[in-house]
Symmetry: C2
Subunit: 344 residues, 2 copies
Amino acid sequence: MSKRTDVNELGEFGLIDHLTQNINLQHASSLKGIGDDAAVLEYGNKMLVVSTDTLVEGIHFDLIYSPLKHLGYKAVVVNVSDIYAMNAIPKQITVSLAFSNRFSVEALEELYKGIEAACNFYNIDLVGGDTTSSQKGLFISITAIGEGEKDKITYRNGAKEGDILCVTGDLGAAYLGLQILEREKQIYLSNPGIQPDLGTNKYVIGRQLKPEARKDMIENFIPKANFTPTSMIDISDGLASELFHICKQSNVGAILEENGVPIRSDVQEIAINFKLDPITCALSGGEDYELLFTISPNDLEKVKYMPDVYICGEIVNVSEGIKLHTKGGNIHPLKAQGWVHFGN
Amino acid sequence: MSKRTDVNELGEFGLIDHLTQNINLQHASSLKGIGDDAAVLEYGNKMLVVSTDTLVEGIHFDLIYSPLKHLGYKAVVVNVSDIYAMNAIPKQITVSLAFSNRFSVEALEELYKGIEAACNFYNIDLVGGDTTSSQKGLFISITAIGEGEKDKITYRNGAKEGDILCVTGDLGAAYLGLQILEREKQIYLSNPGIQPDLGTNKYVIGRQLKPEARKDMIENFIPKANFTPTSMIDISDGLASELFHICKQSNVGAILEENGVPIRSDVQEIAINFKLDPITCALSGGEDYELLFTISPNDLEKVKYMPDVYICGEIVNVSEGIKLHTKGGNIHPLKAQGWVHFGN
């Protein structure tokens, strides 16, 4: 091959777009293909939602500080989170593992204990998969299958001008958990005698090592409040990046209110100790596995008093772009992966 | 962890059995979980069949002699073959890739060209997946989803005493193709100036690098002949190993007729040149992606004149074990992964 283009020139999403540009869906059952949290298939009177995610050692996790049981749990969570983000309920998973010969049966048992614990908590069946060797490292590829109702499935592309932007839970903690784990790893590597000091940081470390998907929102709160979001996505890469996905696919703009972005006060404190701006951790940190969704203004009353849901902005015309309204009253363009240094 | 058990003590199938021994299926839609070619889910009036398989660089393929386009094609084929082995028709796939930074956009385009070619040939939709980095090597994990009819889905556990054992196509060629590619690789590595001599071995090399699944059997010949196999499996690990799976899960024995095992004469010749017994290549070689199935004796007339189907034995009582009836008239126990040296 004469030309060599580095994949970093395109980025992950650009690469997928590029590689799959010729793909056309042939089957009536394939309702939605690449480009959302999950594919949507129509089988009988059910909508089937399918999502795949892979965790790779050295890229997505570090076994120095990720216990295998937690890792198995998290590998399931990141997949069921994609199913929930379609407003569907996960039912089955398949698990593909590739691992080098440094992994013992006991180590794999630990990993499976975590996978089983997540299957129990999220009420899903582990129905298949395969195990194989790798030359180096551990790969966990999980495919999750969920069920939804045709008129309730929520895509990324349904946000309309005037819709209200909502987010669940709190943001930024998983990213700060990772910073602490990386710091303690460096201390440990330079002096293995020192025990890591994780005491006051339990919450953020837990958010990094054992995140949860918003089962409660999709299986309980949203159906009880009796509305369907107009668009939805889970927050795996950071609020800013997810908002860009919704705006791009819905062909709309947005104004995000810094005031509305939920960040716990203890998390803000940890950010400041790291000399990081808390809002930047929330916007660009990722791995929170919360839900970002839009609702019709008609549904505002239904959402206002829901537990753990925060109103954080508004959908506007595409010509207005995607902007952040800061606590200080300034409005400036939001950057998808941008990094605002502390003190700005 | 105090104890360290090497995974090789259990083997791949033993390891899966061990890790998943506590798994119980909760959902009414999960009809069949781990232990067959694919999981079976009931959605509406359709039976959904789901299978996952991963190809790992350095374990399942060597990029020195596997063109990326062929590799993409093969990665799809090994998965749709599992769907066909359930007597179901593949409809959708998701593709997860992990690759190191030595892979360029152009290299991944080649891989996707192969994936797309297979999707076109097998009439399946690529509906999703993800791409991620790896520290080393290329990983391709594909999940295939197919559709079947409830009374036609064929499991591994349905073989009955008196059933007739059938196999499609011809066996042993893919394994010999691999031997030739490995030999030419060694020659090339010791003297890169020498061009590989693959001329007379095109068939076996094609079987290794670009295998096909038996779409024709499942979508055409078997429905036309109007019967349903009592059990079925695809031949990925070798005829002997697959027959063991059927017998174990059906709780039966079998007598395999060496005379009935289809091996092309040119393939036999190549085996002999490698000082290998052709029947051993067929029994233990693997990667043929043919179908091994059993039929009720009542369906014998329907199968007898089907193209490319060979009758190769009989299902017997479990007490009789699993035996090979050699061309020489001897009957001896079949070994699942055994290797009979040439000349035995």
